[in-house]
């Protein structure tokens, strides 16, 4: 079995999702890791302009972690003009644009534009330059706009597949509705305030019994602090059952100890 057999499912293929165009890529491994990053972000269409070592290259399939369908369907083109001929909008990634008058977008801004174009059934493309030199001025003149990632200006060395990853990630995020923060509960439910109160009563009753709350002046504040602690985040029914058990068993342990040491 070679690296080109099989491969993973990569999910549905958006007909109008952006075409990733690698211009004069040098290392076949980077074409493979690019395909992997594309699969991560739900991109499918890959085109190669004049790959240095020719195409296909077995090493790309090995480096793709199963994103074989993307590589199997990749097409090779002699020029950027040929690779973009059937596209409506083309954006060029460019870390250090100079002497150019052109619209510049962030990756996030570009992702919004690409999604808007997708909704209009327009075919879009993203140009990525060769590993060392990046896109040249003639390549960039083929693009409607440039994409420049806001990243550390003091360390600009961005791996090709990492550059594709950031864009693929923003493409995915531009349609994602995951809330930024949620409590994940797979098999149990969030406790109601009544269930929480039921536990608090259990706890306070046992703390009263063992004498922890014997200082009448401090008691209200101590109870309130405990309440604040157990209200800090959402608590699940399962966690409350465990907490009931903790309190019961600690109490029982104490009583057993008292019984054996009268």
């Amino acid at each position: 079995m070679t690296g080109r057999d099989g491969g993973a499912d990569i999910g549905p293929i958006g007909e109008y999702s952006p075409v990733v165009i690698l211009v004069r890529p040098q290392l076949a491994e980077n074409v493979g890791t690019t395909a992997r990053a594309m699969a991560n972000g739900g991109l499918f269409h890959l085109r190669l302009v004049a790959p240095r070592d020719g195409w296909p290259q077995e090493r790309a399939w090995f480096a793709s972690s199963g994103a074989h369908r993307i590589l199997d369907n990749a097409t090779v083109h002699e020029t950027v003009a040929d690779a973009v001929a059937d596209l409506h909008h083309v954006f060029a990634t460019c870390p250090r644009p100079r002497h150019i008058v052109k619209t510049v977008m962030t990756a996030r801004g570009a992702a919004a534009e690409l999604r808007a174009a997708e909704r209009r059934n327009l075919r879009t493309g993203l140009l990525f330059g060769p590993e060392r030199a990046g896109l040249d001025n003639d390549d960039m003149a083929q693009a409607d706009a440039l994409i420049r990632y806001p990243l550390n200006p003091d360390f600009m060395s961005l791996n090709l597949a990492q550059a594709v990853m950031v864009m693929a990630y923003e493409w995915w995020m531009a349609q994602d509705g995951t809330p930024p923060k949620t409590l994940m509960t797979n098999e149990t439910h969030i406790a109601t305030k009544g269930e929480l109160e039921n536990f608090m009563s259990h706890l306070i009753r046992d703390l009263d019994e063992c004498g922890f709350l014997r200082n009448e002046q401090k008691r209200p504040g101590m109870v309130r602090n405990l309440r604040h602690f157990f209200q800090r985040g959402e608590v699940t029914e399962q966690e409350l059952r465990t907490l009931h058990g903790v309190v019961t068993e600690l109490t029982r342990g104490r009583k057993a100890k008292q019984a054996s040491n009268p």
Copy 2:
């Protein structure tokens, strides 16, 4: 000269920027590419928990594309508990959390929390699991919350350095103010409406002369369409000078031709 000499400047080091903690990393190359991704996003602090092949490893420095300062300052720890002991908040990256009741955040949501903690001078950490297995349940129990990237659920194979890249990118973006879309003009200025009108007059005068606008009924609509075209995006003073030249030279060429072919 070995890979460990020299290295690139990576810019200012945020004292309260999150610590990246690689738990039981297997390949030294991945530690190096992780350092490179950290530098891209302005992260500096790296800790390794029980790296499989020991530490230091020359290959990490070679793979880091110059992010040597991060590797030079990385510390090694026997356990996750030891690696997080001085931190205030710890988030664990976890692509497929199961049977866990915990807060789950997107990378973007987590970046906002990390920036908020930074403003409070709290030390934060990000746990990343080993290449194949990811973090185990005990690792995750050390964390305040989990981070799950919204990415293609049909292709979950995410390279370790790519996972770090997404988080480092969101960390950088959480404080970045770059507008999503702007016209970049390095050495020239956007033309005023008056300068644009000056060019339009030049163009229309020459088009009248050559007879292109001879149909009196269609003339207003044609002029309006030309106006719409030249108003589509921002135009620079330099581009207007070029356009003036284009019109002048086309007119002169026509006149010269008329003169030679009377």
